[in-house]
Amino acid sequence: MNLTLKIWRQAGPRHPGEMVTYKVQDISEDMSFLEMLDVLNEQLNAKGEEPIAFDSDCREGICGMCGLMISGEAHGPEKTTTCQLHMRSFSDGEVITVEPWRANAFPVIKDLVVDRGAFDRIIQAGGYISANTGSAPDAHAVPVPKPNADRAFVAAECIGCGACVAACPNASAMLFMGAKVTHLSELPQGQPERAARVVSMVDQHDHEGFGGCTNVGACSQACPKGIPQDVISTLNKDLRAALRG
């Protein structure tokens, strides 16, 4: 198939950016979206133009490194990551716009690459269980009821890609944060730090410049891992309990 691509180009963090139009021909529908961009980059390189910068690593939908706004949708039209989106989801002659995640807390580094360091800092604020190496009791010392273990797992599937933030009209990271809070709150090991964790993470979230949650639900719709919106309710419940002391 032949496609027209309108792609955000921006030379660096302090440079202005613009949409630039490119054409690609003979794209196979078995290609992934990023392989299509690889083809375009080879063409640009051959013409002496600098290739388009975009992030990816695993290309299997698990590392969370990739992430593009494709024709206005985070990770494009399917419920998956950008790297697992295939060209058979598009049609011949289509015009596709490609932009980076847009959020104050995710500044653009170059072209389609953004800085998601804010997510690491939210985890640093409390997204862990304090368990020094070597101090652990036998793994069977504390059984975990299967429903709790399963819900913890579902929440822990978050890959930290940032699509929820990009999709949210408020650029809120509540789904990302709710996922971590829920993962740890469901487990007995997570109880001792439960209250302190949520307060400190929410503080950091606001400090980073993410917006507040107004229950739009676009986050969960865009999430490639299907993190359910109710993790945000868990977060709010934990936060209320913690603030009540």
């Binding site: 290739p51 290309r59 698990i62 969370g64 690459v113 690491d120 190496t133 009791p137 273990a149 890959i159």
Partner: protein
């Protein structure tokens, strides 16, 4: 074997032989007591002194992330580096199947000794007994540690942990978190690491790539890195350096590794004096989704658990290869693994399943699209399983894998048989380390897939995750202290000759890559190298092919340094420049892999030499000649892309606890 093939590599002037490796520094005494002894003998560092000791860790995968968190907790001053934008994205995240541990929770006769034995046998008797025993010994602690961190392993209704069994063993010792075990373990290590970052014991540098090792006065003392965002070249000093930089399977261009996985950190250390051990030992995984066309950028693995219920076949007649498989009658199908290996059938080890798939495709009986000049695929058919168990049961077991397959291929595996083909997956080779995980450069330690230590010539499923975490949480923190106790070492000045040399080299190399402005893209070189490696140093290797490959690689490397085109500048994010540096190192590694494969005139594990097989085409080891680790020393070559004849040092493998046997799966 005839005399003409003996020392083919030496005869062609491709390598020379040096002194054997004298000592691996394992303590004396019975195998079960060695680790306790070593922990006792290793010097302690007073907690008050730890803050004065700087440790650099390159890599935030299971091996690096766990080590950084643990050394930070212990109070050392740690700096940790990765090239991704967050430590959580290291390639370990992609591991699916599970992690082994000798917990014996199922009371099915598992034990430290059995895990040790299975790992040595699985490695085709080419691993070091002492290290493998220790791995088995600490495995149980890993599970405890991970559970304490909140890793959500699969559980049974009673709330206890579930286990499954995994390729080539008879006990249930694999712990898992659905198909995302690597992700959950890495998130556990990442969170422990971020906790230390918050506590300021660890400083993390993301989007930073190590490009040189600083070796001063015979010790590893620091690294030179490029800040991938600003392009700035930085020098970081330390009292010890740990490489946990992962495997180099991407030398084949197409592999199941992440796009950025590379050999640069290890290769730069190799050029500075660290020996590279068994570089040709590569694991090729049988159940990957086949290549669909020339544009392909990477391959996707599907868990080998699929082989428990799927049946592997190809048409008996070449004429049937492009037919709808459902129209091919039973009598015209060749279930070749069941035919050749009646007792193990579809469950033979990875190396055997892969090689037989290659054989039937080479015969012209492969299926799926023609890629290159033939069809590269075999069927993995669930029709019988669906008839026997019902579609729902198959979906419950393999649903996520079927979905992934459907997403990538656009075909529905519940109706049409899946197509699979082997792909490069893991490298057993890596930097040589002693019992303490220290390389041949004092103060340089190597952990995880980057070292060669535990898997011999073939790795068992679910054992890489075990090794990464064993190294990082339990082994390295106990052995590195013996070295650090000698520090802190004298501070180095920026104009120390060793520092200036390393920095200058990085600056010149970066400048040169940008100046060449040739005709060909970095990817085109990488792809061509990958084709050479796959063709001649892949699933089957021969003297003739390897000699040819060495010539081709040399030619390609020479062309690279003359004709590569890297656009853009060095002072911003420049992904072509990053790739160019990695491919330049792969072009050197590839040659060493071929020399190693050429010199090892036996078949063992993942290394199959056409000249060394039994009458019915099975791998044939030669313990009389090759019962050793091949540790290669870089012998010089100053300019970019220059390397002179490597020197082989042999570490003899001694089997005291386990008896050597030829593997048989018939």
């Amino acid at each position: 074997m005839t005399d003409t093939t003996v020392n083919a590599g030496i005869a062609h002037g491709l390598y020379t032989e040096g002194e054997p490796v004298a000592d691996t520094k394992a303590p004396a005494g019975p195998i079960a007591g060695k680790w306790t002894q070593r922990k006792f003998d290793a010097a302690l560092v007073n907690p008050a002194n730890r803050r004065k000791l700087d440790v650099i860790i390159v890599g935030t995968g299971l091996a690096g992330g766990s080590a950084a968190a643990t050394l930070g907790e212990a109070g050392y001053n740690v700096k940790v580096f990765c090239f991704q934008d967050s430590p959580r994205r290291a390639h370990s995240i992609a591991a699916q199947g599970g992690i082994n541990a000798a917990k014996n929770y199922k009371e099915d006769g598992d034990s430290t000794y059995r895990l040790f034995y299975d790992t040595v046998k699985g490695g085709d008797y080419r691993s070091r007994e002492t290290n493998v025993y220790r791995l088995a010994e600490v495995s149980a602690n890993i599970i405890d540690q991970c559970v304490a961190q909140g890793v959500p392993f699969a559980r049974e209704y009673g709330g206890l942990l579930d286990n499954r069994s995994f390729g080539g063993v008879q006990v249930s010792r694999t712990f898992y978190a659905r198909g995302q075990t690597g992700q959950q373990l890495l998130i556990g290590a990442y969170q422990a690491l971020e906790r230390q970052v918050a506590a300021k014991t660890v400083k993390q540098y993301t989007r930073h790539e190590m490009l040189e090792l600083v070796v001063a006065d015979g010790r590893a003392r620091g690294i030179i890195v490029r800040d991938l965002v600003t392009g700035e070249i930085e020098t970081h000093f330390a009292d010890a350096v740990v490489l946990a930089s992962g495997g180099y399977g991407n030398v084949f261009f197409l592999s199941t590794n992440a796009m950025g996985s590379n050999v640069t950190a290890s290769w730069r250390a190799h050029r500075k004096g660290a020996y590279m051990a068994n570089p040709c030992y590569t694991q090729i995984h049988p159940t990957c989704i086949p290549v669909s066309g020339e544009h392909q950028s990477k391959l996707t693995l599907m868990s080998e658990s699929l082989r428990n219920d799927g049946r592997i076949w190809v048409p008996k007649n070449r004429d049937d290869c492009d037919k709808d498989p459902r129209q091919i009658p039973e009598e015209d199908r060749d279930y070749y693994l069941e035919r050749i290996y009646p007792s193990f059938g579809n469950l033979v080890p990875r190396d055997i399943a892969s090689r037989q798939a290659k054989n039937v495709c080479d015969e012209g009986r492969g299926v799926g699209p023609v890629v290159g000049d033939f069809r590269r695929g075999v069927y993995l058919d669930f029709a019988d399983a669906i008839a026997r168990l019902g579609k729902d049961a198959v979906e419950a077991k393999y649903g996520n894998l079927f979905d992934m397959y459907a997403r990538i291929t656009g075909e529905n595996p519940y109706e049409v048989p899946m197509r699979i083909y082997p792909a490069v997956h893991y490298v057993m080779g890596g930097l040589w380390v002693d019992y303490d995980l220290q390389s041949t450069i004092p103060g340089l330690f190597v952990t995880g897939e980057a070292n060669f230590s535990d898997h011999g010539a073939n790795r068992l499923g679910a054992s890489a995750l075990m090794q990464g975490l064993a190294d990082g949480y339990f082994v390295l923190p106990n052995t590195i202290r013996d070295y650090l106790a000698k520090g802190p070492f004298e501070a180095l000045a920026d104009d120390h000759p060793a520092v200036a040399e390393a920095r200058g080299r990085v600056e010149q190399r970066t400048a040169r890559l940008l100046q060449i402005q040739g005709e060909r893209s970095v990817d085109s070189f990488h792809r061509e190298l990958g084709n050479i490696m796959w063709e001649y140093c892949g699933m089957e290797r021969s003297e003739e092919g390897l000699l040819k490959a060495i010539d081709l690689i040399r030619g390609l490397r020479e062309e690279f340094w003359r004709n590569v085109r890297v656009l853009g500048s060095g002072d911003t994010l420049n992904q072509s420049l990053e790739k160019a540096g990695r491919v330049a190192d792969f072009l050197e590694l590839g040659e060493l892999m071929c020399i190693d494969a050429l010199h090892r005139r036996e078949s063992c594990g993942g290394h199959f030499r056409a000249e060394s097989q039994t009458e019915d085409g099975e791998a044939l080891r030669h313990d009389d000649e090759f019962l050793y680790v091949a540790a290669w020393e870089f012998s010089g070559g100053d300019g970019d892309g220059e390397m002179s004849t490597p020197v082989l040092h042999k570490e003899d493998l001694v089997y005291e606890a386990i008896e050597l046997k030829q593997r048989s799966y018939k």
